[in-house]
Symmetry: C2
Subunit: 237 residues, 2 copies
């Protein structure tokens, strides 16, 4: 079955929703039957069953049934705001791997990255994170925050587990299935000694994610897989 995106909070049973132009075009290209069964997610937890309907020349969806899914446990990645293209690739993988929030960190070593993520690129990164729901079928889209400094980030970091991805760290410990977690990933050139000290002072424990040094976007994916697995073990082990 095809999964499509709906506007947040637009899904109500026994109503008809219009599709975004891009979605409509996608269905036409795929030559989808005009009364095909469709799944819709709105990125804020609503998942609907629906059926396509042709109204004049427009494709609409009749919403038959809506289920509101509980929000996934808070799984926050704070990642050095490096190359924007690799950041966008990472943003797409957040929802399928269970990431709920991405904070681009402006650090000492991201300042010299010519292609670094800047506020003007966020729109595209957010769109790609949301578009990814169609493929992975998750009902919740991750939140992509504005880039912020390490000091700002640490001042408002939430409760729960705190990990700092670090090759010299220990293997990830298990933790409770609903406990929030925040994982910090350095930029290509790493965090400075001063930045590392700030993380340590804020209670971030060094955790190792792989046998060798990783690129930042790969480290971010490995962190999400590790956190998901550590939660599974914490719940059942």
């Amino acid at each position: 079955m095809i999964t499509l995106l709906a506007r947040p909070r637009s899904l109500v049973a026994d109503t008809t929703v219009t599709l975004e132009e891009e979605e409509e075009h996608h269905l036409v290209v795929r030559r989808t039957a005009p009364d095909a069964a469709i799944e819709l997610v709105d990125g804020e937890g609503a998942r609907a069953e629906g059926r396509l309907a042709l109204e004049g020349r427009r494709l609409l969806v009749r919403v038959l049934r809506v289920v509101q899914e509980p929000a996934p446990p808070a799984t926050i990645l704070a990642v050095g705001a490096g190359d924007r293209d690799r950041f966008a690739l990472l943003a797409e993988q957040l929802a399928p791997l269970g990431g709920t929030r991405l904070v681009p960190l402006e650090t000492v070593h991201t300042a010299s990255v010519a292609t670094r993520l800047r506020p003007t690129h966020l729109e595209r990164v957010r769109r790609r994170a949301r578009e990814a729901l169609k493929q992975c079928r998750a009902a919740w889209a991750p939140v992509i925050e504005d880039p912020c400094s390490l000091a700002e980030f640490l001042a408002r970091a939430g409760a729960g587990r705190r990990w700092l991805a670090e090759l010299t760290g220990k293997t990830a410990p298990s933790f409770g299935p609903t406990e929030p977690i925040t994982i910090a990933i350095g930029p290509e050139a790493g965090f400075t000694a001063e930045e590392q000290a700030a993380f340590a002072a804020a209670g971030f424990e060094p955790v190792r994610l792989a046998p060798h040094r990783l690129r930042f976007e790969t480290a971010a994916l490995a962190a999400l897989t590790t956190a998901w697995l550590a939660r599974q073990r914490g719940g059942y082990g």
Copy 2:
């Protein structure tokens, strides 16, 4: 310190090695000091300390000391031979995440992928897998095999653990730190029921890697992270 690639089995203490043209160019661009300390890996387990030396207009490396590292435990990914660009991205992440071998599988659903990996693309994929050693500093390069059919692959699959990545599978069990593992990842459109039956008959156990459906290259990275973590737990848990 800069890590460079050397030709396989070219590293011998108290000798001088020439660099590949691309490596030499890279050092010139970076304005590396002509007597800088350098690390070299050969992709077959040798790691050397060396020092740059200028001979006429050529940059050479005087090899001071060589250590042969043991091969990492066999960690084999068999992945549906989908889009070649995403396959190349995956190949680059193999060594840093502990993957030792990549088998592109020709399956029922890869046959219709227009951009699928073909034998002519292997040279590039292999080069990128090897180039990645410079960033992650691993001494062993992964082997990238020629594409093969599922029947061929199953006929010669090695001993050890066998996992099939599957959203309905169970959480990964721990296993011994040196035990070989083979993990199969379906192409975008998945394995057919017949292909799944062939995996089951060959003793592949369905293992879940994430909360939602993953793209094939993300599934492959998640599989390597999961296997590495399961080995760590098997060794110490």
